[in-house]
Symmetry: C2
Subunit: 515 residues, 2 copies
Amino acid sequence: MTSTKSLHLTEPMNPDAFTDAQQRIAAAYSPESLKSLGTDLVERLSQHMAELQQREHSVLNWNSPEENLPIARETLNSHAEHAKESLAERFQKLVDVAIRRGHNLHHPRYIGHQVPASIPIAGLFDAMGAITNQVMAIYEMGPWVTSVERALIERWGAEIGLTPGTFDGLVTHGGSLANLTALLTARNTVFPKSWQRGFTDGNASPVLVAHADSHYCVTRSAGMLGLGTENCLKAKLDPLRRIDPQALDEQLAQLRKDNRPILAVSAAACATPIGAFDQLNDIADVCRRHDVWMHVDAAHGGAVSMSKRHRHLISGLERSDSFICDAHKMMFVSALCAFVFYREKAYRYAAFQQDAPYLFDPSTPGMAEIDSGMSTVECTKRAAVYGLWGTWSLFGEQLFADLVDVTFEMTQILYRKLEAAEDFVPLHQPQANIQVFRYVPSASYGLNEAEVGELNRQIRWKLIESGKFYIVQTHLDGQAALRTTLMNPLTTEDDLNELLAEVRSSAATQLKEKE
Amino acid sequence: MTSTKSLHLTEPMNPDAFTDAQQRIAAAYSPESLKSLGTDLVERLSQHMAELQQREHSVLNWNSPEENLPIARETLNSHAEHAKESLAERFQKLVDVAIRRGHNLHHPRYIGHQVPASIPIAGLFDAMGAITNQVMAIYEMGPWVTSVERALIERWGAEIGLTPGTFDGLVTHGGSLANLTALLTARNTVFPKSWQRGFTDGNASPVLVAHADSHYCVTRSAGMLGLGTENCLKAKLDPLRRIDPQALDEQLAQLRKDNRPILAVSAAACATPIGAFDQLNDIADVCRRHDVWMHVDAAHGGAVSMSKRHRHLISGLERSDSFICDAHKMMFVSALCAFVFYREKAYRYAAFQQDAPYLFDPSTPGMAEIDSGMSTVECTKRAAVYGLWGTWSLFGEQLFADLVDVTFEMTQILYRKLEAAEDFVPLHQPQANIQVFRYVPSASYGLNEAEVGELNRQIRWKLIESGKFYIVQTHLDGQAALRTTLMNPLTTEDDLNELLAEVRSSAATQLKEKE
């Protein structure tokens, strides 16, 4: 029997100090305060949402870091400096500053990054998870959230076309982490010794072949996993910015000929810049021919599985070895809730090959099957699926189909407007809800390419500062351009007309200033 | 100018179908529904918290996966199957099932894993972030949450003893990801070519020297980063399960002599099994002597910086090159909110060395300084700091000191009770709020070591099933034992007395059954 080892215990606390501390803690844990502050919060947020839907307020409340940082630092002293105010007053001030200085993704003129104006009620389910602190790692820590997560993996995977009973998956905190986890599984499967021995004892460097427009996290994964970013090779694209299957076939053939080990091919559905969907069946054929792991980053596009109109875009996704889908993109739930799917159930435990005796109990191996920590980077994981679970259960799958259909349709409407306008050029036809375009003034202004690019950058910045719209900028084929993702399903055709009018008016002002 | 490329646009939607979809979406986005459902939710959770504080309900609502999974699958059909019910009725049913089948961390007899009974009001700030979907990656996507995160990094880092202006940090989704990110930074700094070229072209395998009781994520990091888990070497522990500085000195000297490259030493403050704090100043001396990167996993212990009584336990933490602290452990906020700190500001961008033109704008390099995505695995990141920010601002740092002081003190009270009891053996003196112990029946029962272990396992399982307490099990020096972490500051001495009584009573029943 181990005897107690020698160590100086801290002197016991003074009983009065102990009681005081307990009282302060009890006040912070008061159910009554939770109720009164929570009720205030819900009312405030509901009012705010209603105002945004009426297009009140700015889209982005732009303040520079130099303006926001001192105020943020100051809030941390609120307790001491506003000690005389009630808890409710201090709470309201904090909520107020966060709203007044935050980003209004729920304004219908927020049409920027691939982050949605989330379904507000989805956030209520997240609130339930946060307030009760439901977490998982092993099943018994979060029996319900673990069950809900499993049910969603089964259901969504089947919708996408995976064969029930044969596939598996996991949920993690974001698309970058999801891609990393899936590519780690690919690495450990293709190079079985790499987990234990590392990538240090090989000869020819293995490569990852990725869509040339892949999200930066794919190259980062190569850097993180010990492959090296320079061993992340670009797959050639066709004129529609999709992987060219013929070129991929040749690339893989050459790599095999050169004896370069191949970790995986990473395709996209859809790729970030213009929302181009790879032709997944063709890529699956090529990957199978060369016996290469096929991975697909379907962070944005996975949700089209819900739409009868658009699900053809991901035909073949079910043939890939691994793929990821972000529910916090086109399923319109709050960040972060990303899914990894494995076509073969057996891959689920390939990412990590360890045990933690106090967690994963070897005496109950059946239970480990369902312990989330066995397959995710996270040990403790929050109830990331609650927003999706609640929304799916409350509204059914039709709502997800609607969200895809409406935002995709509205993007085609925008495209047609841009095509019809003399002073706008859409840089591609949209497959998804992403549209890149430029404002191009009349030739009479005599602007060169660089000047047109600079004009577009200036236009964007003025829009942001004005708070009228939130769109982003990008470069496409070396051209600076404007980029919009219609991530708010409440954006109307009138909003889009107004966008074009604002861009024109801003351009006119700037061109005049230059004269 | 790029011309539009050829692609078949989807046929426009039928106008009626489009309008129907828009109407369903508008209903899901209704501010009125947000208000009414949200108000219901807050009332329900407040009531639930009050009941738990009265020790009503089970701690863990134990149901096997076989029981929970079919019900979880069924909820996903709620919309179709309960179409006649109101939205409010369906919402309440979903909240109800989640509460009835979830884990009650706010029950004062939840004293299990290192996951807290979180401050409920902290969850309200998370709710604000989730409902408004505040995210970050680049500053302009989340100007306020980015500012708040910076302010917290500055403030907490300074509290720990880092020199203002010279250090930096980041927030990420959990301690495992935090350790991975910090060790990636160490790898890229110590082996500058590994990011681009990979770990494939070296000769002698680099090693990571880690506390022998490190959390499993440290070894996993070695596996993920291409080092290989077998190159994660254990640092020898002293009898108190802390790294033995003398032995570490010898180990590093030997490694240097053998020309084995060293990625880092990973210490613990505190280590998971019994909550032992490494002697960080001694380890810092050793690491500097051998010019080795010092990393500390202070996921659990970092918060003692807030406590005058206990902050000596992390003296020297400020000398490490990198360390991590989980706010969702001893700062008692909801999961997940983990901090990585770098002693030198320059390390902040070492983890990743890439750009994404549509995100990190090279024309505004000053802004990239504050873009969170430059230093975190996550691209889109949720407002993970809102709970901590709100709690800190509302209640001040004293509350964090109180939470550490009270839970640590209560653990020493438990230790003394175990020491005083004839049939209990504490397996260590507690430095933190973790206590491992065994129930050891009178010698007259004649149980051997394995039988005592089995008895303890059975005791735990009966406690869990009964819903009376939630504690965990572990192995220490080959002995199966009970483990408790006092993560609920509302746990009282009476609860602890009751725990011992319940264990005794359960043991008596089981010993009787065996007779």
